[in-house]
């Protein structure tokens, strides 16, 4: 575990991508295959099956540290990470040892065959052999969530460098549903002709935000425009009589959206589409309708009828079983239109229609109407560009609408966790309803570190009442809250819910009385809800 811990420290300590890549590359050159395989598995969110619950972990850690459970529970939100909290409160190891990562994973996997009491002994025994960093990593094997600043791109690059292979090929091999306990490093990365996985998706190409004027992009004739849909990005893989739907986060969503089983009735095998999953009934439904489907693993019939989904397709990545990504967009688009042009309305597929525009001003005018089309803005894609992987500047741009804004009064504050543990970062905002302030949203982001420090000092001095971790503060500060959408919500006291609310400006210039009112919010709801 020491070499894995050293790798973790090397990556965690630097913010420089180059140094992280170098650390990972040299690690991958040094350690045995089984260690490499598990390392890559963990960094891509794959972990051994959980044999103990986090509740058990907390209880055992508190007991070993000689602390009441509540004290560990109180510490956890402040640290922001359970694995780390436990690693920090435990006493130093009594029998330090250096056993490899794969050893600990094997032991964790064997826990399933043991009775509960023996599982506890195994965990306590592990804690007694591991130092602080190793313990954090060991705990992470159980709790999951290895967020250590290693992007897919960085890892792909390091593996490619360590194995002297092509980056794109490695990226493809890492996609899909492989598991570290059922494959080998050789089969995953090196084998000359690996069994092509019918479900394997292509890496998504991600757009950059367009901040400058579109005029800088040159001739409008070189570009294709379409709506930027407000749904879930999805890749539909149709091969060998099966269908798989992947999210951008490489999560398999096939079971959540049974509608797509029918795609095979309308499209040939060897087809892979990139598009947006949207709730749809003769046109896009609001995001809040789609939201009812998100997070549901099984879908009741009633919901299927209420919130049916389609894939609004905008790109063709595989055609006739051939990787089609190197073809220019214009070609891919023509083929996509040919495929989807014939499909009847009952197919769960739609073509994302192109937006025709003669010049940039015309497109800007169309973009201004995006909310009416239930879109977030427009996308611009270069007609002669191949389909790249990851976030690369130049060929795809998202040109989002300016957010909606409202000026609101801060009324409650709560400390953040993790990165922001000693700052007040979580705030509740209110608008006027007559002489009363009505809370309507929370917001956590948008301020600079300096502003968070300032507001933290202010909150400490202006707390009027404490409700557990929440402090009611003096009504004094006005903030501009920016958000992407607004809809009616019976679950919220104000009857309104916002999408992506954040603090866009600290309105030092505005007195309390000039904050917006509930009526202003309702007017926005009537226009954009």
């Amino acid at each position: 575990m020491k070499s894995f811990a050293a790798l973790f420290n090397a990556i965690d300590r630097t913010t420089r991508t180059k140094e992280k890549t170098a650390a990972l590359t040299s690690y991958l050159r040094d350690v045995p295959d089984v260690e490499k395989l598990w390392t890559v598995a963990l960094f891509t969110g794959r972990r051994p099956r959980r044999a103990v619950t986090t509740t058990q972990l907390r209880e055992w850690a508190a007991e070993r540290a000689g602390l009441p459970l509540w004290l560990l529970e109180e510490s956890y939100p402040i640290v922001g990470d359970l694995a780390e909290t436990i690693a920090l409160v435990l006493p130093p190891p009594k029998r330090p040892a250096d056993l490899p990562l794969s050893h600990w994973i094997t032991r964790l996997q064997r826990l399933h065959d043991l009775p509960p009491e023996a599982r506890k002994d195994q965990i306590l025994d592990a804690w007694d052999q591991l130092d602080a960093t190793e313990r954090l990593l060991f705990n992470k094997l159980i709790t999951g969530g290895f967020r250590i600043g290693v992007s897919q791109k960085l890892m792909t690059r390091a593996i490619a460098a360590a194995t002297e292979r092509d980056e794109a090929e490695i990226a493809l091999r890492l996609m899909g549903k492989w598991r570290a306990d059922t494959t080998t490093w050789h089969a995953l990365i090196e084998a000359d002709d690996p069994q092509a996985d019918a479900s394997r998706p292509y890496p998504f190409y991600l757009a950059y935000q367009l901040d400058d004027a579109p005029e800088d992009l040159g001739d409008p004739g070189d570009w294709q425009a379409e709506w930027k849909w407000d749904g879930i990005r999805g890749q539909l893989v149709l091969r060998g009589g099966t269908h798989h739907l992947w999210s951008r986060g490489e999560e398999l969503m096939t079971d959540r959206f049974p509608e797509f089983a029918r795609a095979l009735d309308f499209l040939p095998g060897g087809t892979v589409l990139d598009g947006e999953v949207l709730a749809w009934d003769d046109g896009p439904l609001p995001f809040s309708t789609l939201q009812k489907r998100i997070g549901r693993k099984t879908v009741p019939k009633k919901l299927l009828a209420e919130a049916p989904v389609v894939l609004v397709a905008y790109d063709l990545l595989e055609h006739d079983g051939q990787d089609f990504r190197a073809e220019p967009l214009a070609t891919r688009r023509a083929q996509l239109e040919a495929l989807l042009g014939q499909t009847p309305p009952e197919a769960p597929l739609r073509l994302s229609p192109p937006i025709n525009f003669a010049n940039w001003q015309a497109l800007a005018d169309t973009r201004a109407t995006a909310r009416e089309a239930r879109a977030e803005g427009v996308m611009l894609k270069r007609l002669d560009s191949p389909y790249l992987s990851g976030r690369k500047k130049g060929d795809w741009w998202k040109w989002k609408l300016d957010p909606l804004t409202i000026d609101a009064v801060m009324i409650y504050a709560q400390q953040g966790s993790g990165r922001r543990a000693n700052l007040f970062t979580d705030f509740t905002f209110a608008v006027w309803n007559g002489n009363e302030l009505v809370p309507f949203t929370k917001a956590y982001s948008g301020l600079t570190d300096e502003e968070f420090r300032k507001i933290t000092a202010w909150v400490r001095k202006n707390t009027q009442q404490k409700f557990g971790p929440v402090r009611q503060v003096k009504s004094h500060h006005v903030f501009e809250i920016a958000f992407e959408g607004i809809h009616a919500s019976p679950r919220h006291k104000s009857g309104i819910a916002l999408r992506f609310p954040r603090m866009s400006r600290w309105r030092h210039d505005k007195p309390l009385s000039e904050a917006n009112s509930l009526d202003d919010l309702k007017a926005l709801l009537a226009t954009y809800g």
Binding site: D12, R13, T14, T15, A65, L67, P68, W70, L71, L72, E74, S75, I78, V79, G80, D81, E84, T85, L88, V89, L136, G149, S417, G418, R419, R420, A421, N422, D449, R453, T456, A457, V459, R460, K461, K466
Partner: protein
């Protein structure tokens, strides 16, 4: 009911019998000051009382003030109260303040730590009935490694940075932490350059006889090439500012107890975080409180609710100081 020995007011901790305040945050007639950090020693009081060891820094920071000094352990009668100052181990010159009225003893800890740092006068437990304790790091996740171990990490980082062609720039509060780090750095590795804010405080302390290694003040005309292998010590606010440009490629480090938490380390976006604090960690807070023999504990500055609950379960009559004033100036306060 008799007046308590000390009371918590909106100006700070007040002693009715002696008519004085301890570390008040609004101007008062008589202020007893535990140490020179900006959130404890504020300007505007008519009269100040502090230890002899803290006086030079107070004068340096607050300018022309009416300042009376006192030796550690020396009793002084103020009105109906007898006060004395006792080492708090926080920074050079820092004190806990003991107040006795009619046989009842209260101690206000100010900020403190138990580990001997080689510069600050070592913490001295003071028996009392009521103890007002800071608890900046009053959570069991905070436990410090021994100073010698952190010193080894610091010096290794210095050596590695130089080997990688980078100038190490270490961020630290200018009073206390900076000098402690100076005493931990190995001058054999190379010269130590200091930002002006740190240099002036260091000179004041050096003038008092604290043993500190040689430093070079970073002036506008300084050329880093003339100081090969140098490490730079700067206040946190200078990290990432234009002031840093003169050093070319750097590796930044930050030394604070908060660095114990990975999330905070990452927010700082320094290349390295060193876990070292001038405040007591969890085990030290608990030990210090036990050694006072106090029954009544008042928790202030930090995770007060959680810490007070823990103490109550441990049998103390513990409560949270009702008015808690944060520092405006992170630069100079907790860590």
């Amino acid at each position: 009911m008799a007046e308590p020995v000390l009371r918590f007011t909106d100006r700070g901790i007040y002693c009715p019998a002696g008519d004085f305040y301890i570390d008040p945050w609004r101007p008062v007639d008589r202020a007893l000051i535990t140490h020179g950090h900006a959130d404890h020693a504020r300007p505007g009081h008519a009269r100040y009382l502090a230890t002899k060891a803290a006086a030079p820094v107070l004068r340096h920071r607050l300018g022309e003030i009416t300042l009376d000094t006192i030796r550690y352990g020396e009793p002084r009668v103020i009105g109906g109260a007898t006060v004395s100052f006792h080492p708090a181990g926080h920074v050079p010159g820092s004190a806990q303040i003991r107040v006795e009225v009619g046989g009842e003893v209260w101690v206000a800890s100010g900020d403190y730590k138990l580990e001997q740092d080689g510069l600050s006068e070592p913490f001295e437990p003071v028996r009392c009935h009521s103890f007002i304790t800071e608890c900046t790091f009053g959570l069991p996740v905070f436990a410090w490694d021994p100073q010698a171990q952190v010193a080894a990490e610091l010096n290794a980082w210095w050596t590695d940075s130089i080997a990688n062609g980078r100038t190490p720039v270490l961020g630290a509060y200018s009073l206390g932490k900076a000098q402690r780090l100076l005493s931990m750095l190995d001058p054999e590795i190379g010269p130590i350059l200091t930002h002006g804010a740190i240099e002036t405080t260091t000179q004041v302390l050096r003038g008092q006889g604290y043993d500190l290694p040689q430093t070079h003040h970073v002036t506008p005309d300084l050329d880093i090439k003339e100081h090969p292998g140098a490490l730079v010590l700067a206040p946190p606010a200078a990290l990432g500012s234009d002031w840093m440009r003169r050093f070319g490629l750097v590796s930044t480090g930050f030394a604070s107890g908060w660095m114990r938490m990975r999330g905070v380390r990452r927010r700082r976006a320094s290349d390295r975080g060193f876990v070292i604090s001038d405040h007591a960690d969890w085990p030290a807070l608990n030990r210090a409180i036990a050694e006072t023999g106090a029954e009544n504990i008042y928790a202030t500055h930090g995770y007060t609710e959680i810490f007070a609950r823990w103490l109550r379960e441990d049998g103390y009559n513990a409560q949270v100081v009702p008015t808690e004033f944060g520092s405006d100036d992170e630069e100079d306060s907790a860590a």
